[in-house]
Symmetry: C2
Subunit: 237 residues, 2 copies
Amino acid sequence: MAARDLQERIKKLILDRRLASGAPLPTEPELMEHLGASRNSVREALKALQAMGIVEIRHGFGTYVGPMSLAPMIEGLAFRTVAGHYRGEDSLLQLLELREAVETGLASRLSGRIPDADLIELDALVDRMEEEAARGAGLAETDRAFHATLYRGLDNALLCEVLEAFWDAFHRVRTDLGGEPQDPKVTCRQHREILDAVRSGDSMRAEEAIREHFGNIRARLSTTAPQSPHTRHNERV
Amino acid sequence: MAARDLQERIKKLILDRRLASGAPLPTEPELMEHLGASRNSVREALKALQAMGIVEIRHGFGTYVGPMSLAPMIEGLAFRTVAGHYRGEDSLLQLLELREAVETGLASRLSGRIPDADLIELDALVDRMEEEAARGAGLAETDRAFHATLYRGLDNALLCEVLEAFWDAFHRVRTDLGGEPQDPKVTCRQHREILDAVRSGDSMRAEEAIREHFGNIRARLSTTAPQSPHTRHNERV
DNA sequence: CGGTATTTGTCCGTATGTATA
DNA sequence: CTATACATACGGACAAATACC
């Protein structure tokens, strides 16, 4: 009777007091008194809110309003995808197609709207990507930065966060499942093409470039997709 | 030391046993023994997993693998948006723009890919919308069904779920904040236009129709959105 | 219909680890 | 190093909800 209600009341408390991210919450004893519940119930409610990124609990220090990032969504999406994959579904492909649909759809918005500063940064990122590819290093982080920077010009922080969340979830699942990385050379060339396309302002060309990039990942995916891992998986899941 | 680990081990247990949604989990005493932790710790871990939609707890019955829906994401997005709005940010507008960017971007994919059965259903939905508008009823549910049906033809269940989640979050926030509903007549006309546009296969026209639809909502939003612009809090992204 | 067993919900008390002063 | 405040973890107890006989 109180369990679900406690979370709502704590959320209401945050809203009523206009607490910003990082602001301290009342201590557990204070919350016990304010909410009229035991320590255990309060703790369970806080744990649930922590899982949703609404509060942040620091051991031996206190409880604070969380960053309200989309990290919980990443967790949920990643687990859902891994679980589906293990059960023989094409969940990983669906996640990739979700990214493809959204990012290709955004291509037309991108054309000519990217600030020069971002274009320069994107150039540097592709350069770094080629340098990493040359020395055989992983270029996952650079790829992430490229996609993040690409959509920064849309001037919507929420949209960028969602896209980054999709990227994170996909990347986590693919690495946890031990998928083979695609050919770095091809990846570099395709990112260069995306960058040139959006710079030229040709929306159709940009869309095609992004579509081809995802088509490449998809091809790598289908080679390792139908597996039933009796082996163990990473503990990161 | 065990808190974060317990969640991972329970998730690992679900993956190892290939448990599908709705499958029963071990009872709390069994989990206590299997994980070597006390009941409170197990319960807190389960509460966190419940908040992420990974498990489902039914009082007096048992614990089960959750539906793994995007409901937690809706909660998180909605709360994040409400909290931001109360603190004077344009979070609600950002959420709307997120929907607009994604849905307009999907318009080109839609053209000519919608099955006839879905087109018939969409016709019926707009008819119902007009009927509801005529008698002054709320047409939120019908609007939700329209958008859900529209993107069903993309053949990606995950994408549809994400779009529905965005819709739910936006609608919940707007109603919680007591925003004024837009003119039903205009809404009906714009949905009819969207439907006709995607039926014609003209992707540019479809994109424009969707953009105008969102433009209408945005206009309604801006009348009540900006409050206390001088109360700027310092916050990290 | 009632009784009983099972399972989760809530609460209390206590001890331990951690960070600040 | 000591003291204080806080979160973490444990074990036990009873209440509430559900299923089954």
